[in-house]
């Protein structure tokens, strides 16, 4: 594979099941080392896309390659890919060590015993390594599932809802694990998730899927910066100046949706910078205590996209 070739390349991908179209003309690519978030409501086609990429389903139209290979026909290429499905892929009646050793042998991992011990330590399960997985908590299973997915040091790892069912602390640890994989190991991560906050924190780029079509595809930074006006709020040191401040702000072009409550004034900035607004207030004799830019979150973007696309359950 050439170094400049995308790790994932999806071209005009479509998938029909009897009586329904699940995916419609999907085109996107993922570069090496990216943490790519794949978002969408239930039934949007996220899992179907992931299954096609993994070679578990065949596309009706178009093509999907991972590391330059079609995984549905290339068993050996699977060695370079790691997977954590919603189900952790673990056997309850085997110990954690036996589970990892099994997959290590399937993936021809050199010195499997050492690698298994290393990964148990990596996910903090060394002390429980010889316990049956059936006795593990949901969080422990998820961590072990991640260890299983990266056991063979894949070049790309597919993670389906990696923090689902975890408590906040475990979610934090799993997020750190994922970021560590990408930053230290330069592993490409394809993250299928409902958790918008999580995606915003760890993904470099996202695609938002709705009813089988991609409705947004860009870096998180561009998506949250582009489009609508930036939210901006000003807190006045003296609430009695609110009326005067309102008059000054109303005269500035590029300020929209101005509203006020007590000493706080809120507005949207479309064609004016926050610096110009503060400068105008200070010049007008207004005492400004605090000014804050309210950036749009990925959740705002996601909800906008869903509204434009015709709704959907998050």
């Amino acid at each position: 594979m050439q170094t400049d070739e995308p790790v994932i390349k999806v071209t005009s991908l479509g998938k029909d099941f009897p009586g329904r179209k699940v995916l419609d003309d999907l085109t996107f690519s993922v570069e090496k080392g990216e943490v790519f978030g794949f978002l969408g409501p239930n039934g949007a086609g996220k899992t179907t896309t992931m299954r096609i990429l993994l070679g578990l389903l065949l596309p009706t139209t178009g093509s999907a390659t991972v590391l330059g290979s079609d995984l549905s026909i290339n068993d050996e290429a699977r060695k370079r890919v790691g997977v954590l499905m919603e189900n952790n892929g673990l056997y309850d009646r085997l110990t954690a060590r036996e589970n990892l050793t099994y997959y290590a042998r399937l993936y021809d991992v050199a010195r499997p015993a050492e690698r298994v011990a290393e990964l148990l330590d990596f996910v903090g399960l060394t002390d429980r390594g010889d316990d049956l997985v059936g006795k593990y908590s949901t969080g422990m299973k998820r961590k072990l599932g991640i260890a299983r997915a990266i056991l063979h040091e894949p070049e790309i790892v597919f993670l389906d809802e990696p923090t689902s069912g975890l408590d906040p602390e475990a979610q934090h640890r799993v997020r750190e694990l994922i970021l560590g994989l990408s930053q230290e190991g330069s592993m490409t991560v394809f993250l299928n998730s409902h958790n918008l906050d999580e995606v915003q924190r760890i993904c470099s780029r996202v695609a938002i899927l709705h009813q089988g079509r991609i409705r947004a595809l860009d870096s998180v930074r561009h998506l949250t910066a582009a489009g609508k006006k930036t939210g901006f709020s000003v807190t006045l040191a003296d609430p009695s100046q609110a009326g005067e401040a309102g008059r000054i702000l109303s005269s500035i072009e590029g300020i929209e949706d101005l509203s006020g409550k007590g000493s706080i004034l809120q507005m949207g900035l479309s064609a004016v910078s926050s610096h110009d607004v503060i400068a105008a207030l200070v010049t007008g004799g207004i005492l400004v205590e605090e000014a804050r830019i309210q950036r749009r979150s990925l959740e705002d973007i996601y909800l906008d996209v869903m509204r434009q696309a015709g709704g959907g359950e998050v």
């Binding site: 578990l56 389903l57 060695k79 997977v83 056997y91 085997l94 042998r105």
Partner: protein
């Protein structure tokens, strides 16, 4: 290590650790091994002939039951729990996966079936008062042909369980259970007192087992990851 053997070893390890399944298998063998033999030997036929007939059909039926019991654990349970989806992403061809699982069922099922044959012989001996040793064709049948039938049954059932949905598999399970009960209860009456196990009969059974096994191995060409995935429970 060959990936087929890796899969087989894991399946055997998992089966041995499944206390409930092993307990059910041993209970089944003990009950049918100890009680069916003496009941049959109380009839009018010569004990040697009855022992041969039992060695031929009862041990075979018990072997097929073991195959059924273990196949449900090895193939169907993995599908029910969704673990198979992760396994399908491994660098393993579907035929290797199928073969590993069939081997993982055949080895423990054959060992337990040998154990059931020994129990039947011992129970028959205790009941009649003298040592009953099956004839050479029956011994060959028990040692060689029955493991082949176990492999054929596990292969065919496993293949069907992989391609069918959960509801169809439930129906299939009922049919198989009733079929096995029918075989145990009525085979001896159906084949009649004149039936004797000859090398020709054992040879035909051997041929049938090999044919089923080869046919199923051929059918695995038509297994697809998509078929398995779309029949997973929601």
């Amino acid at each position: 290590m060959n990936r087929i053997l890796v899969v087989a070893e894991k399946e055997i390890r998992q089966l041995v650790k499944s206390r409930n399944i092993m307990l059910s298998a041993i209970l089944f063998i003990v009950v049918f091994g100890i009680f069916t033999g003496p009941a049959a030997l109380s009839g009018a036929d010569s004990p040697e002939q009855v022992m041969d007939t039992l060695g031929f059909y009862l041990v075979l039926t018990l072997g097929i039951f073991m195959a059924y019991l273990f196949t449900a654990q090895v193939f169907l349970r993995e599908k029910q729990e969704g673990v198979v989806e992760t396994l399908l992403c491994a660098p393993l061809s579907l035929r290797d996966l199928w073969l590993g699982k069939v081997l993982g069922v055949t080895i423990p099922a054959s060992i337990l079936t040998y154990f059931s044959a020994v129990l039947i012989i011992i129970a028959g001996g205790v009941f009649t008062g003298y040592t009953l040793v099956p004839s050479a064709p029956v011994l060959f049948h028990i040692i060689v042909v029955i493991p082949l039938f176990i492999a054929a049954a596990a292969g065919l059932l496993g293949f069907v369980q992989l391609i069918l949905g959960m509801r169809e598999n439930q129906i299939l399970n009922f049919v198989i259970i009733f079929g096995i009960i029918f075989l145990i209860s009525f085979t001896r009456a159906l084949i009649g007192p004149a039936f004797s196990v000859t090398w020709a009969v054992v040879g035909a059974a051997f041929g049938l087992a090999v044919a089923i096994l080869l046919l199923t191995a051929y059918l695995t060409r038509f297994l697809s990851r998509e078929r398995i995935v779309i029949t997973l429970p929601d």
